[in-house]
Assembly symmetry: D2
C-alpha cells in the first residue's frame, strides 16, 4: 500500500484551506497580540498527512573518528571533561545535540587507569563496547567487567561511573542516552557523587548482576524487582550471538530485519529501560531485507561484518564499528555485503516510548519487490 | 529541602570544566567536520543540575479572547478552517505552537448548525466545555451531547467530528492535544474522512458511552476493553463535582492541590488516554495551598470561582473560564479568592507520559511556610 | 453446539480402556502397596469428558429461614457464637460446609446494640444487606453504615467486625466467603483481636471509603493502592441500581443475563477481591434469558422482584431475599416473573479465581430456542 | 516467632464457644432440615487458627517403583491405557488421587516406538525426565526432544502426546498436573484427538520453542505472546544447572532453600503456567537449610545427589530420582548428605495459584537454631 510517490492535497475538505484576505491579516495580528494564533494558519503544518521526519539519515565511520578519539586522550582528562566523549550530532538536530530523534549518542574513550567521576541523572544510559580490555562500569555499587560487543545499561537515576583497569587496554565504547527526550520534557537533571574525587564503593561481588540474572529461562526465586528497568545490567556478546544463531536454525526471521532479538528485562520480558530499547540483529550471508518504514528513531552500530543500508533512497555502506541512524518514518532496508559471513547490527531506539505513547505505526514498501530505488 | 536560592557550581569535580585553549579550538573544529562535537563543550548545557523549564507561565483571559472568537465566526467556516480554533501560544514555544511543554491547547467556537469535517490522527484530543448548548461530539460513531463543564475525550486514532445542533446556542470549548509531543517524536499524522463533505454515521445510541460506563463502582460484565484509552468518553460536571464534594467531607486533601481528582479509565483505574491525563480540583473557601514544583506540564481552566496562582513568584489572577499554565519544574501554589465559595480548576497534563518515562520528580517549597515571595 | 443429549464413549482410542485380568488385579495390589495407583484405573474418573458438577442446585427461601434466625437471637449471643449465622449447606457439600463449589454462604442476624468480636482471616468475605437499619461494619478501622441491598466487602486479611447501633433495628444480611476454597488449599487461618472483649478503634471518618472512592469516572489523585482488593468497601444500592437503569437505556444486555454489572475495584477495573467477584443484574419486565452453562460457582440473592431460574432442567421459583445457587457447568436460564416490574439478582461467585487459573469455559444451549425442557 | 509448641485456646472471646443444651440440639435439627447449619457448630473447624495441613508428607523411592514400571510395559499399552503411568497417591488424599494438596503426580514409562494418544484438557501438565533417550513430546504441533533432567510443559488446553523413537531407549519421566485442583473447581475436561489412532502433525521445526526462546536476556523482536503460559516449552538441564552454578558464585542464597531458581516464562518473568510453578534448587556441599513453613504444596524430585529432608519432625532420606512432597504449612528443612558434591532438587508446586489468591504466608522456625527435632 505504501509507496514513494503518494501525493497529498491540502485543498481538500477536512484540511485547512482558508484563503488570505486583508481582513484576515489584520485579524491574525489581533489574535497574536493576545498570545494566540489562528489554528488554521498552522494546522496543516502541525498536523502533517504522515509523520514528518526531522532527523537526517547519518553514517559515522569509525576509522575516521578513532584518531580524533585518541587525540582527545591527549587533550582532556575524564576528571575535567566529566566524560571524554565525542558526541554524534545529527545534521538536523544541532540544537538538541541529538544523534537521531530525541536520542543522544557518543563515543567514549578511556585509557588504562582512568575513570570518570561518579554521577547520576534522570536520563537513562546504555553502552555498547567497541574495543579494549579491562573496562568496567559500576552501577549502584555493582561493578561489571566489559568486553568487546557486550551491552551494558546504567538506568534512570542510578549512580554510575566507568573506568579501565591499570593493566587494561584503552577502551572505546558507544554511549546511548535519552538526554534530548528528557530535556524536551523539561525533566533532565544531574547529581555528582557527594564525595569529591571519590567514587562508589563496590557493594556486591563483581558481575553479580550477569551471574545472577542471565540464566536461560530461570530466575532466582526470591527476585523481588520493582524497578522500571532490568536487574540484568550486562548482556554478553557470546550469549547474544548464540541466541541469534539458535533462532536462525528454526526461524525465517523478519523480512525487514532478518533475525532480530531485543535485549529484555528478564523479570518482565519487556525492554531493558523505561524509555529506550536495544536489540541485536543478524543478517545471514547474502541477506537483503525488504524496505519498510515506521515511527521511532534507531541508532545502529555494526557489531560484525559489513554491508549497506538504504535509507530513503540513499545508500550507506558500513563495516564493523561504524554507526548510522534511521530516522522515524524513513524507508530503510539492510543488506549483508558478504555471501559467506553473517553480519550483525546492534541498535538502540526509542521504541518502548513510541509504543507506550501509542505513536507506533509501520508501513511496508510494496513497489519494486520491496527495494528502494537508490539515488545516484 | 527545596528553596529558591540554591546555587550550582559548574566548576566542581564531576562537571565539565575544561579550560579553553587554541589547540582545543582547532580540535573542536576538526571534530565538527566529522559530524560530532566534543561532549564536554555541551555537557553542562544538556545535563542541567535540575530540570530546565522551557515554557513560560501564561494566563489567557477568557473575556479578552471571547470577542476574537465571535469575530472568527464571521471570518472563516469550519469547513474551510478544518476547525475554528484560536491556538494558545506559549511565549517561549512559538515554533511548536504549544501552550505549555509539548501540549497544544486552543479555544474552539461552533455556531448552531455548524460542524467540523470528520478526521483522525495519532495525536490524542480532549475537550472541556466552556459555554453553549446543543453541542455534540461523534467519536468512532458514538455521538455524545455536551454541556458546560463536561469533559470529553477523542483518543489517539479515533475518527471524530464536532458540531452544534440547529436549535442549539453557539458553543465554545477548550481543546487539548499532544500534537507538539507527537511531532517531537516525528509521529503525528492526519486522515480526512473518506467521503468528501460527509461525516460519520452514528453507530450507537446517543450517549451510549456515558450511560454504559459511568456507573459508580460497577462495570458491564461483558466489558472487553483492550484499547489504551477509556471506554468512558464523557465525564459530566454534575458527577465530577459531586465526587469532589463527597471526598471533601472526609479528606483533608493534598496540601498542594486541595481535593484533586483524576478523570480515570474505569476499566483500568488509570489515565483517560495514553499520553495525557486530566483532573478536576476543588479549592475550598479560603484555601491557599502550599507551593511545590514537579516535572510535567499542566494547562488549567477555571471551571468555577476565582482566585490566583503564584508561579515562580509571579501572581496570576484568574476567574471562571480563564486558562493558565504551569510549566514543568515551576514552583506553584493556588489560592481560592473567596472565603465562602469553592473554586474548581480543570486541568490536563502530560503526567501519564512523564510517569511512564520515569521522568517524574517533585519538590516541596519549604521556606516561608510554603509560600513564595511574590514579585512586585 | 451444546445440547443435553451428548453421549461420551470411554471405549474410544485416547481413553483408558484396559480390560480387567487376574494378573492386573495382582498388579494393582502391588502398586497400591507402594503408595501408587495404576493411572488407567482412575483416568476416566479424574479426567471427565466435560467439567463434572459436584454441587447441587439449591434454593433457600427467606421466609422459611427468617423465623429460625429470629429464634437464634434468643439462643446464642454473638460474643459466644463468634457470629450468629445460619450457614447455607449444599446437599452435596456437607463435609466442607459449602453453599456451592468452594464458596461459603450464611445469613447473619444482629440485634440492636450487639456486635461481633473483631477478627481477621485469610479467607475473604462479603455481605449483602437484607433488612434492618443502623447496621455497620468496621474494616481495618473504617466504619461504614449499611442499608438494605448495600454490598460490602471485608477482604483477605483485614480486621473486621459488625454490629447494629443501639437505636437501630435488627439487621439481617447474607455473608459470602471463600472458606472452603481456602481450606481446600490448606491455607485458611483465624486471628482474634488482641484486646479481649474490645474491638477496633475507628481510624477514619465514617464512610470514608465510599465517600472517597465511589465517584463516577474519577479517582483521588494521590490514590496509591497496592492491595489486591478494592479501596471501595461499600457499594450502595442506589448507585448500583441507577447504573443498571442507565445501561438498560442503550444496551440490549446479555442474552444469558440481561443487564449484568460487576462490582469493581475502581483502582483497577477488576474484581473487588482476589478470589471472589460479585455482580448485580437486572432482568427487564418479562425478560426470559437463554440458557448457557459455564465453569464457576454462583450464589444468588434476589435483590428485587420475583421470578424463576431453571437449572439443569429443574425450575426454582424465587422472590425477594431468597437465595439460590447455580453450580459449575450447570445449564441455567433466568425469568423475571413480572411483565411490568424489573427483577434484580445479586450474585457472588468464584469467577475471578476460575479465570485466573485458566479454568473458564462456557457453552450455549442451542436447542429449543435456548430454553431447557423443565422436569415435571 | 513461630515455634512447634504454640497452643490455641478455643474458649477465648472471638472463637465459637457456645455450650450445648437440649434446646440447641433441637434447634440444630430444625435448621438442618432447612438446608442450613448453625455456623457456630462448625466455625472453629472451618476457620482453624492456622492453615490446616491435610496432606501427608510422603517419599516415593525410585528404585522400588522402577520394577513396577517395567512390569507395566508388559501388562498394558499406551493405546489402551491412555498413558502408562503409576500415579503417586498421598496417604491422605486417596479420593482425589492427589500426590500433595491439589497436585497430581505420576511416573510414566514409554518403550521405543511407543506413543500415547494425542489429547488435550483444561488441566495443565509438566514433565521432568528421569531416564532414557529418544523421548519426545509434541505440544500444539511443536515437537521437542527430551533428555534426562530436562523440564517440559504441556499447558492448559494444548494438544499433546508423547513417545519414544524406534531407536531410542525406554524413557521414564515424572508427570505433574493440577487435575485435583481442576476437579475441585468442577472444571476439568478431556478431548481426544479427532482422528482415531493418529496424532498431531509437526507444524514447526523440531525444538523450535527452545531454540527460539531460551536465549539469555534476549527475545525475538516480533514475539507476540498472549497465552497465559510460557512460549518456552522445554528447559534444558545444562542451562539450568549452569545458571545455578553461576548464581552460587555471587549469592548466599536463601537460608531455607540454598540457590533456588524458578523456571519462568521469558515473555513475562512469571511462572511457566497459570496454576503451577516449577523450580530447581541446588544445595551446596554440606548445606543444611533452616526450617520454615508456608502455604502451598510442593512435589520434589531429586535431580542430583543425595541427602534428606525433615518434614514436620520426620526425616526422609532421598537419593537421585526419588520423589517426595512437602504439604502446605508443614515445617521443612533440606540437607545435602554430601560434603563434596552439590545436590539438586527439582520441584513443582501450586505457588502461582496460592499467591494469586492471596493465600500465601510463611513462618520461620526460630527454635534450636532453625532445626527441627527429629522424631525417633
Ligand atoms: Fe551518566
Ligand atoms: Fe525497521
Ligand atoms: Fe482532531
Ligand atoms: Fe502541582
Ligand atoms: Fe470474618
Ligand atoms: Fe451464567
Ligand atoms: Fe495430558
Ligand atoms: Fe519452603
Amino acid at each position: 500500500m505504501g509507496n514513494e510517490t503518494q501525493v497529498f492535497d491540502d485543498s481538500v475538505y477536512g484540511r485547512s484551506r482558508v484563503a488570505e484576505s486583508d481582513e484576515l491579516k489584520q485579524y491574525y495580528q489581533d489574535v497574536e497580540n493576545m498570545g494566540t494564533k489562528a489554528f488554521w494558519t498552522v494546522a496543516n503544518k502541525i498536523e502533517p498527512w504522515e509523520p514528518r521526519t526531522l532527523s537526517a539519515p547519518m553514517l559515522w565511520e569509525y576509522d575516521k573518528l578513532r584518531p580524533l578519539l585518541i587525540k582527545a586522550t591527549e587533550l582532556v582528562s575524564p576528571g575535567d571533561a566529566g566524560r571524554r566523549v565525542l558526541t554524534l550530532i545529527n545534521d538536523n538536530l544541532k540544537e538538541s545535540a541529538a544523534a537521531c530523534g530525541m536520542l543522544f549518542s557518543g563515543i567514549q574513550i578511556t585509557r588504562p587507569g582512568e575513570f570518570t567521576p561518579a554521577h547520576r541523572h534522570v536520563a537513562s544510559a546504555l553502552r555498547f563496547i567497541m574495543e579494549g580490555s579491562g573496562g568496567y562500569t559500576i552501577v549502584n555499587g555493582h561493578k561489571m567487567n566489559l568486553g568487546a560487543r557486550d551491552f551494558v545499561i546504567t538506568p534512570n537515576g542510578t549512580w554510575h561511573e566507568h573506568g579501565v583497569a591499570e593493566d587494561g587496554q584503552t577502551c572505546i565504547w558507544q554511549d546511548g542516552l535519552d538526554i534530548p527526550m528528557a530535556n524536551a520534557f523539561e525533566a533532565n537533571d544531574y547529581h555528582v557523587w557527594p564525595e569529591e574525587g571519590k567514587g562508589q564503593d563496590q557493594l556486591h561481588p563483581t558481575d553479580f548482576s550477569p551471574l545472577t540474572y542471565s540464566g536461560s529461562g530461570v530466575l532466582m526465586a526470591d527476585t523481588e524487582w520493582n524497578e522500571p528497568y532490568s536487574p540484568l545490567f550486562k548482556y554478553s556478546w557470546e550469549r547474544t550471538y548464540e541466541a541469534l544463531q539458535n533462532a536462525a536454525k528454526v526461524n525465517d526471521g523478519s523480512p525487514y530485519d532478518g533475525i532480530l532479538m531485543n535485549y529484555t528485562n528478564p523479570a518482565t520480558g519487556g525492554p531493558v529501560m523505561a524509555t529506550m530499547g536495544a536489540a541485536m540483529q543478524m543478517l545471514r550471508p547474502g541477506e537483503h531485507t525488504k524496505a519498510h518504514k515506521h515511527t521511532g528513531s534507531i541508532v545502529y552500530q555494526v557489531a560484525k561484518g559489513s554491508g549497506y543500508t538504504v535509507i530513503n533512497g540513499k545508500r550507506f555502506n558500513w563495516k564493523e564499528k561504524d554507526i548510522f541512524c534511521v530516522p522515524s518514518w524513513a524507508w530503510h532496508e539492510h543488506c549483508n555485503g558478504s555471501g559467506s559471513e553473517d553480519a550483525c547490527l546492534f541498535q538502540f531506539n526509542d521504541l518502548p516510548t513510541i509504543k507506550k505513547l501509542g505513536y507506533y505505526q509501520e508501513r511496508v514498501y510494496t513497489e519494486n519487490n520491496g527495494h528502494q530505488k537508490i539515488e545516484q
